[in-house]
């Protein structure tokens, strides 16, 4: 959960103005599309995304001082995570661009729910009344997932193949390989025509 004093627009402009100092601006991170899609190579882009945001944040701070404590809510993409019940007075303006820092699956679910609510119309309202804890005041279902879902799945498969990590398994595998190779070599050598030494000028006969 990100505190409300860390809410910033894409441009680094603070959205909800709490006590803002230079030390707080250094900790700022604006969740951009690049940050989210970057994956493993996101470090560089992450770093590059920070530098302009600092400057912009400083600029925004100056602007705020000049203009006053007027909230700059006009920016379309706002990084905001807020508890469903704990909405500030400015919340209605934020509704359309809520970044919940969710993973792809949760975001998909959220989108699907949003579409459903658009399609069903009034039904969704009644549903939201039925389960007030699951959905926000505006009818948008808030799904919070902890950790990466694929990792959670893989824990089950790890348990299944845990024996692979144990040495006895590899000892048995090695033993089987050695025995197999031995049997193969014995078979191959036994079926091979044994060379007859030259001293036997009349040949070699019988068992090889």
């Amino acid at each position: 959960m990100v505190p409300s004093d860390r809410l910033f627009s894409r441009t680094g402009t603070p959205v909800i103005c709490g006590a803002m100092t230079t030390s707080t601006t250094s900790k700022l991170h604006v969740a951009t599309e690049d940050d989210r899609e970057g994956g493993g190579g996101a470090r560089g882009s992450h770093r590059s995304a920070r530098r302009p945001s600092k400057g912009r944040a400083a600029l925004a701070g100056i602007l705020l001082v000049a203009v006053g404590a007027a909230p700059a809510l006009a920016t379309p993409s706002v990084a905001s995570v807020e508890a469903p019940g704990a909405r500030s007075n400015d919340a209605p303006a934020l509704e359309r661009s809520v970044d919940l820092h969710l993973d792809g699956r949760a975001a998909g679910r959220l989108l699907a729910d949003t579409k459903d609510s658009d399609a069903s119309g009034g039904d969704d309202k009644s549903k939201s009344e039925e389960k007030p804890g699951d959905k926000g005041d505006d009818g948008v279902k808030m799904t919070v997932t902890k950790g990466a879902p694929p990792a959670a799945k893989s824990t089950g498969s790890d348990d299944t193949f845990a024996f692979v990590k144990d040495w006895p398994f590899w000892a048995i595998v090695g033993g089987v390989v050695i025995v197999g190779a031995s049997v193969y070599m014995i078979n191959r050598n036994s079926s091979q025509d044994r060379s007859c030494p030259g001293v036997y000028n009349a040949g070699c006969f019988g068992a090889k």
């Binding site: 006895p168 048995i172 000028n201 009349a202 040949g203 019988g206 068992a207």
Partner: protein, 151 residues
């Protein structure tokens, strides 16, 4: 923790069983015993190189503790005119030396040898036996006695 310990015990048991099976497999593999047989023509004929030119084939029949073929012809016959025959003690010509293997662990192998001319008539014949030494090569010689017509 307990399951891991039991798993390890099971694996050790499997290993022991595997080794035991391998040992059984090794014990089942019989050793081959060999005979190195010199075929020598006895008497004065056996010392005359020009008489050897009449030999067209040498047939060997084996019996006793054998495991493989019991009848075969020696290779290299007829010998070329300038063939250099080895000789045994006393100058007797060794017309051929062959090796015979048997899978039997013990017992005797009897070699019955017939030296023949181009018409498959016997020029000489004889037999000899040797006792198996397990896994070893037993050197022996079989003297063939020329028939009257070849003397």
């Amino acid at each position: 923790m307990t399951s891991k310990a039991s798993e390890t015990r099971m694996s050790r048991k499997f290993l022991r069983l595997g080794l035991f099976g391998l040992g059984l497999l090794g014990a089942g593999c019989g050793q081959t015993s060999y005979f190195s047989v010199d075929v020598i023509v006895s008497g004065p004929t056996g010392r005359q190189r020009n008489s050897m030119a009449q030999i067209q084939s040498v047939q060997v029949n084996t019996s006793g503790a054998i495991s493989d073929e019991s009848s075969f012809l020696l290779l290299g016959f007829p010998r070329s005119d300038n063939y250099n025959y080895p000789t045994a003690d006393g100058g007797q010509i060794i017309i051929g030396r062959f090796q015979y293997g048997t899978g039997s662990e013990s017992g005797k192998v009897t070699f019955d040898i017939h030296v023949k001319d181009g018409s498959l008539n016997d020029l000489a014949s004889g037999s000899g036996d040797g006792t198996i030494k397990s896994g070893a090569n037993v050197a022996m010689s079989v003297m063939v006695n020329p028939v009257d017509s070849w003397k």
